[in-house]
């Protein structure tokens, strides 16, 4: 039986990862906090039944992905401005910061699956095995999706450079 102490530790150890993932997927601080809260609330309710077949982190990320999908679906139903990096810091003055701002915007414009795969791989630093476990697909599929996501991102960035 899992204890409340273990849950407290799981919250402390994984809050940032879940919040950052939600932020990358939804593009706003408010939504990200809401998703993080939903994730840990659901995890808490299921905590005593968590059998530990996967790591706590991958389990939480999976819950967060579902919570994000629910929110994004909801957003599709009620017309709202397209997710944008509105909470991000304003572009800086140096080239590195400008490039980061471009990458961030391009990432937000990708279709959700591409954004999800790139976020899991690059931002959360998960291995392909872990991503495959989260997305419930073979590792080869993860590689292939990462490849397509990366190509889509490169194309977006290229287009932005042409526009400039």
């Amino acid at each position: 039986m899992r204890t409340s102490q273990e849950f407290t530790e799981a919250v402390d150890a994984n809050w940032d990862a879940v919040y950052h993932l939600a932020y990358r997927l939804c593009g706003s601080r408010h939504d990200a906090e809401d998703i993080a809260q939903q994730t840990f609330y659901q995890a808490f309710r299921a905590w005593s039944g968590f059998e530990g077949r996967s790591s706590v982190r991958t389990w939480l990320i999976k819950i967060a992905i579902h919570a994000s999908a629910r929110l994004l679906k909801e957003r599709d139903r009620t017309p709202q401005p397209l997710a944008s990096a509105k909470d991000e810091p304003a572009p800086g003055t140096n080239a590195v910061e400008d490039r980061h701002a471009e990458v961030r915007l391009a990432l937000m414009e990708l279709r959700p699956l591409h954004r999800l795969v790139l976020t899991l791989f690059c931002v959360d630093g998960l291995t392909h095995g872990e991503i495959a476990e989260i997305l419930e697909c073979p590792e080869g599929t993860v590689w292939s999706r990462l490849h397509h996501a990366k190509k889509a991102l490169a194309a977006k960035l290229e287009r932005k450079e042409h526009v400039r």
Binding site: Y19, A46, S48, G49, I63, A69, D87, R99
Partner: protein, 232 residues
């Protein structure tokens, strides 16, 4: 994947990231060794790695993690209390009306026959409602003041799964006693008794079902479908 160019790019990317290659991918890269295509592929892979690194370098704005965790706890406290907040006024209204309706005759026992059964039932319902409201009140106090919120709610969750079964056991035990008394002297009305029993059993089953459902995570296959199907 069927596109040979994609296969080459993917194999080169896997190699550059240190991922294990399949036999086919190893053979593919071996065939390209020393060719101009290898050089071109190397440049493309380096660009891809740079792009992935740039994505990795993205950091969200600084956040107050402690504050957010505290807001989560606040939300959990409020949700643990909310249900009772709605339940207690409901009980208060229903049983308050019942108590008022039954109060007048309740306190006037018949000089010869004592107190009728229906008044006894009203009295029992009223006392039961008082007991439930008191329990809710103490529960809310503990939810709002407990330092170990997670521990308290987990213990409460386990108890809420056990309690309906205990109630059913208790009610059945009392039922046996009442039935024996009924068969002996016929002082308890069968219809009222069976009705009451059914209500208690249904409520216990409802609470048990709700409690079990709360501990299961929703396995929403449609949500995976949404990620794969969404085109933007």
């Amino acid at each position: 994947m069927t596109d040979p160019q994609e296969q080459k790019e993917l194999a080169a990317l896997k190699q550059s990231l240190g991922a294990p290659l399949t036999e086919k991918e190893r053979a593919l890269l071996l065939r390209l060794r020393g060719t101009p295509e290898e050089e071109e592929l190397g440049a493309r892979t380096a660009a891809t790695r740079r792009l992935l690194e740039q994505v990795s370098e993205l950091r969200p704005p600084a956040v107050d993690t402690r504050g957010m965790v505290e807001r989560l706890e606040q939300r959990m406290r409020s949700q643990a209390v909310e249900f009772r907040k709605r339940f207690v006024p409901f009980c208060a209204v229903v049983f308050g009306l019942a108590a008022v309706a039954g109060a007048v005759p309740l306190v006037i026992p018949h000089p010869r026959h004592g107190m009728p059964e229906i008044r006894q039932l009203w009295l029992l319902l009223f006392l039961g409602a008082c007991a439930i409201c008191s329990m809710m009140y103490w529960h809310n106090r503990r939810v709002l003041r407990s330092d170990d919120l997670y521990g308290f709610l987990m213990r409460h969750e386990r108890r809420s799964r056990r309690t309906p079964l205990e109630v059913v056991g208790g009610v059945l035990a009392i039922a046996v006693v009442f039935l024996l008394e009924w068969s002996r002297s016929g002082t308890v009305r069968a219809a009222a008794f069976v009705g009451g029993l059914l209500v208690v059993l249904s409520l216990a089953a409802l609470f048990l079902r709700r409690s079990l459902r709360r501990t299961r995570l929703s396995q929403d296959a449609e949500l995976w479908g949404w990620w794969y199907g969404e085109q933007r």
